[in-house]
Subunit: 259 residues, 2 copies
Amino acid sequence: MMITSRDNELIKEVSKLISASKYRKKSNCFVAEGVRLCRDAASSGALIKSFLYTSEAAEKYNEELCIISKAAASSAEISRELYDRLSDTGSPQGFLCVIDMNSTPRLNEISISGKYAALENIQDPSNLGTILRTAEALGVDGVILSEGCCDIFSPKVVRGSMGAVFRLPFMQVKSMADFVRIQTSSGAVCYASAPRDAEDIENIDFSGGAIMLIGNEGNGLKEETISCCTKRVKINMKGRAESLNAAAAAAILLYRLLS
Amino acid sequence: MMITSRDNELIKEVSKLISASKYRKKSNCFVAEGVRLCRDAASSGALIKSFLYTSEAAEKYNEELCIISKAAASSAEISRELYDRLSDTGSPQGFLCVIDMNSTPRLNEISISGKYAALENIQDPSNLGTILRTAEALGVDGVILSEGCCDIFSPKVVRGSMGAVFRLPFMQVKSMADFVRIQTSSGAVCYASAPRDAEDIENIDFSGGAIMLIGNEGNGLKEETISCCTKRVKINMKGRAESLNAAAAAAILLYRLLS
């Protein structure tokens, strides 16, 4: 039976999951929207609690429909009108999954030979999504997020990450400074991306394991966090002494870390 | 006298300049919004035809108000209500300039020892803005844009570029392939960012002048354009064989070009 009513319990739930970070945390679920993201969720083994689709999308993306329906605990058709009202994208494709957060990969321990990105208070969802996508493409082993980062399970981050949230292990930490203290004391090398008195990333040997710390869009890393790191590093900019966008800076830093 | 009416000719003009690329081209003007962008316009020597501000903004940013008013051919106060209706940003700051396109820097010739970014059909305004900002920060000498790129003077690009449009010389070309043909025949080195059968950017000596070609978000560079280039290059990705976001890829490519 097709869902057409806004008063349907599942629809009310999806709507809250899309708009409210608090509700996502409470219910331990999030929403992935779009054909590709839903298929990524299915193929990555994420636990899909509900799969909603419009009849137009079911016809157009039949192969994906089969894969996702098979992986989902429950599936239901929903009217186009209701879907468009729910969706937070400009051009809704008609596929939407409710996913159990706990079924996405977590980073449980830091390996001394691994390469990691640690993000402190990245606030813009587009930036966080792009950084996760970049980290996955370049081959980072995992991502550490401070509590002050925007919600990794917000629809914008999930979309911007191109599904990296389904595959790239992450860890959330209360205090980045405490995390860095613990890591350096067990022998990990932590680089603070912080331009002042810093070494040019071109002069650093990144052949071993390391954690690259990247800070907030406007303010960079906290002084306390920087002071716990092994070394300050910077991107040498020949142009106007103007900071790069956080996602562009992260791309360069992580590229050097991994190359 | 404060402007309060939507029927005011200047307001109608600004509204069209914000929303319509065609109208920008026709009138050779564009709009820069926000305190920082307007100040950047003034300090870069761009020709500011009209400067509009709310009384709240005038009070809050008095120093900037003086600088911008001095540079502007005309200035006028506008009601907060009207400003908020005009603005296309989420949190309008109350400063807006109408700028003469022809007063921003153009790239008139390519120097054999210079470093350039050539962008073919970059379609997303956020990506184009970020790439311009990155290009300026890293010290690129100029940018070449194909006709298929989104409008460099759209409010989103101007904002995302953090004012790079006021300082970074650019050139628009009808056909990128033709441009590349001409450049290579006069001895310039053109690198096509195109993953297939390409050389890893780590193995390339970028010490001389060069033009780095970057293609469309979904489709990359056109085959014809690639075939005119000196060499195909790629970013070595250790992770999932998944392409980077266009702006992240451009950051890495331009960083290597300039470092």
